[in-house]
């Protein structure tokens, strides 16, 4: 399929359009937003569903088949925060705190971007390895820890004891629901899974329907911050688009090398390219007080997230095709 038509398919997906509607609503100064608890509730549902589904699939997959993909995923979790940090520090001349803070976001992963990639791949008629949610869980925290450690070491200011923060990240919502869901999905077995599958199936209608509402609110949150683009300046805007492409390509290549299918490569690339805006921000905020949160959040939420949703994912998919993943 031509890149153009791929892009179009992606642009006209309910996910992309719901996100666009959210941004539009804020641009016309609408005061509408999803009730806070609903937004949180959908997030819980999406993450739990990801975990359960992943666990159910895991029950079939021979553990060995995951070894290599898991390995490269953790590798990505170690490389991406460092590459981000040094680009910001050396090329962008940002303070250690700011560099580390932003790096923590790009070293981690955005679950919603992951889901969007999965949905996109499916719409391309390709399949994705069932154990991808496991990789998602693996990529969640290492990047944050590495970046924060880096910031804590390098920064002259005393920064809050880092261990309590490591713990907070490891026990945060995403980890509980993702890892917990994986365990449950793995343990309950075929029959029980089929009882709840229509509700939690990430290809199911409930999941897809809820996802639209979630992206509508994400659009509103991002639209809210469009104004901050001025504050972050051209370098970070370029950074928020180019680094994902680099990380995404790296993810695709490593995924291919680890034997992932074209679908798996696309999703792993997207994971590497995505930036966390849920787990990372509070961790960075309390550990590196003098890191400016406007920088990291605007990059992750207002630049990289939309870029990945709209153009990034199709690009990583094309790369995956090029490297000739089957």
């Amino acid at each position: 399929m031509a890149i153009s038509s791929v892009l179009q398919t992606n642009l006209l997906s309910p996910i992309t359009l719901s996100f666009a509607l959210g941004i539009l609503a804020r641009r016309v100064k609408s005061e509408f937003s999803l009730p806070k608890d609903i937004y949180m509730g959908i997030a819980v549902y999406l993450l739990f569903a990801l975990g359960l589904k992943g666990g159910a699939e895991l029950a079939h997959a021979p553990i060995v088949s995951i070894a290599w993909p898991a390995g490269v995923t953790i590798l990505l979790g170690c490389i991406t925060p460092l590459s981000a940090y040094f680009v910001l520090r050396k090329l962008g001349h940002f303070s250690t705190a700011d560099s580390a803070g932003i790096a923590a976001h790009y070293g981690s992963v955005s679950a919603v971007t992951y889901i969007a990639a999965q949905t996109f791949v499916a719409s391309m008629g390709k399949t994705v390895e069932g154990y991808m949610p496991t990789l998602l869980a693996l990529l969640e925290s290492p990047g944050i820890h590495i970046a924060l450690a880096l910031g804590a070491i390098k920064s002259t200011n005393k920064s809050r004891p880092i261990f309590s923060v490591l713990h907070e990240v490891l026990t945060a919502r995403t980890m509980v629901l993702l890892v917990g869901g994986l365990l449950i999905g793995y343990l309950i077995g075929e029959k029980n899974w089929h009882d709840i599958e229509p509700f939690y199936d990430t290809k199911g209608v409930i999941f897809k329907g809820a996802l639209c509402l979630f992206l509508l609110e994400m659009g509103i949150v991002a639209g809210d911050r469009l104004g901050d683009l001025k504050k972050v300046g051209p370098f970070l805007i370029g950074f928020g688009i180019l680094l994902p492409i680099v990380h995404g390509t790296l993810g695709v290549l490593l995924g291919h090398w680890a034997g992932l299918s074209v679908g798996g490569c696309t999703v792993l690339g997207t994971m590497a390219a995505s930036a966390s805006y849920i787990a990372a921000p509070p961790a960075v905020r309390v550990t590196l007080p003098d890191a400016n949160p406007t920088y990291s959040l605007t990059c992750a939420l207002t630049i990289t997230f939309p870029f990945n949703i709209v153009a990034g994912i199709p690009i990583y998919y094309q790369i995956a095709m090029l490297v000739g993943a089957y």
Partner: protein
């Protein structure tokens, strides 16, 4: 009923500080506190947190000396980098010993 006069310390801060601040309060001698979810606007326009302007209000009835300690600590540790304000009010309570 005779009452004693104490201080009500009120902190308004970005949500992420709820736990650190409550820990600090307890460490500095507060016997209890009440937390309210609020939203607000100030001069700093810091947009930390996914949804900006989401703050917490932490109120604690304490002795004058503890109040000083808290105000002192907060303005030293948090003012420079965080969206936070603190103010102190006189309050009358019964069974003052509960708070000291």
């Amino acid at each position: 009923m005779q009452t004693v006069s104490l201080k009500l310390v009120t902190l308004v801060a970005e949500t992420v500080l709820a736990d650190p601040l409550s820990r600090d309060l307890t460490r500095l001698g507060a016997k209890g506190f009440t937390i309210t979810e609020v939203r607000g606007e100030g001069s700093r326009h810091l947009r930390s947190g996914e949804i900006p302007g989401q703050n917490v209000k932490i109120e604690s009835v304490v002795s004058a000396s503890v109040a000083d300690k808290i105000v002192d600590h907060v303005s030293r540790e948090y003012f420079p980098n965080y969206a936070v304000i603190v103010y102190v009010t006189d309050v009358a309570v019964v069974r003052g010993e509960k708070y000291i």
